[in-house]
Symmetry: C2
Amino acid sequence: MTAPARPSSPVAGTVPAGMQYLYGSGEAAALSSQAYRALAQHVRASADYRQAGIEVASVVLAPGSSLASPHFVECGAKPLAIVLDIDETVLLNLGYEADEAARGLSYDDARWRRWEATGAGKVDPVPGAVEAINAARKAGVAVVYISNRTAANAPATARALEGAGLGKAIPGETLLLKEEGAGSGKDMRRAQVAETHCVVALVGDQLGDFSDLFSAAGMTPAARRAAADGIQIEPLWGAGWFMLPNPVYGSGLKGGIGEVFPANRRWTDPGAAAAADAPAGTLKE
Amino acid sequence: MTAPARPSSPVAGTVPAGMQYLYGSGEAAALSSQAYRALAQHVRASADYRQAGIEVASVVLAPGSSLASPHFVECGAKPLAIVLDIDETVLLNLGYEADEAARGLSYDDARWRRWEATGAGKVDPVPGAVEAINAARKAGVAVVYISNRTAANAPATARALEGAGLGKAIPGETLLLKEEGAGSGKDMRRAQVAETHCVVALVGDQLGDFSDLFSAAGMTPAARRAAADGIQIEPLWGAGWFMLPNPVYGSGLKGGIGEVFPANRRWTDPGAAAAADAPAGTLKE
């Protein structure tokens, strides 16, 4: 988690709407369960195909891909794996977020590192994650975590995962964290897993959990949305790429009115126009 | 849409985080496409089962159900149907929301009615909705909308749906809106559809789009979340009940710190404790 975009002006003691939704609502729990149910079905189908001798495709973009022209590394006979992000993908960081809400704080990198180091007991698994990950392991599919939590806190992060029921993660093998001085891109680590495994699913809450191409410099929110919804990428959602909800922080929380709302979808309230045009005192006459 | 919960203190000219996420992000577009891909697969499987003479189950709760003990109406040979909510389920209300953001307004019922009446050209379909709904119709599955838009504006709402590529909806038949003076519950309208059709999928952005039981008086956010994630209800998400994201308004945006964050998941930042305990000037010594 690297200096993520956050709603501005937090007020101590109040819960921002995104936190109410993600951590408190049945709606968000339903979204998460639904995503993990689709993942479990996809992993089961992939394992069945492999068993039946049918070629299974990787979902990691191959070098030279663009978002308009993606292509995928070949799998051959490599063992199957799924790759998951950690924060707000398999773990809900309840302790950290409650502390921010209670004290009205914005994201702080040093505080986040203290959280990584000491928060293992104050997380919950994302609804549906434990069942889907157990099902993958039972089907003989390896489970690998790629996260930008710092590698220096790897043992504590492994404890947080195990404590939440997400099983054992081995630093450097099935737990690939951000090394000191390394960038926040994840393509290199995805390529590293794809060297030895056939990655049949990527799971995350940010577009960067699927490809660094979404993080290209100067890409506007509208361009990122158009790429995610484009004819080449859209078919991956729910069919190899699995998105978890996160309206609390990250790359989805950007943009002013002109960037979020297309110019041809702006509406003028006829009631407001009448009010503005009417001389004082004649309103609604 | 009836006086929905909204984030407090909107500021004119800025976009609340929930709107940035839902209307502007690739992440939310991915979530929506993923939900509609799961719906399309479910509808196709249901149609295939029916064709093969295999019994198909309804996903509308039967009278006498509770969330701890749900049961379902029988389908017999009734024709298949799916039931969808409209706002932020199949339509993104871009014009209305941009106006609220630009002017810093909170939800207003009269303004919303003007939007229903005049906003037909200022909406977009939710990503994935058009494709899934077309696929359902192609498979011979009826498409019915149940929404709390007012019945008085039915022709304008039908125009908005058709203009967004969501096909024809016939007021009173496949477009069941809120009649003047009626409550906002939807169970009666769901039961009405289930009388003549085998409802194989419910699609919405609020728990009330699935059962009025989630709207019982006095139900806390935690109780609603526990019910949605409970052992009897959780298996429905992505397998008959399909949730779309909406961190902008509605029943998911409720709760203070004590209601959103479980007491046993609160974390005390050791850095903050050190700062508070240390006499002035000795910090970090």
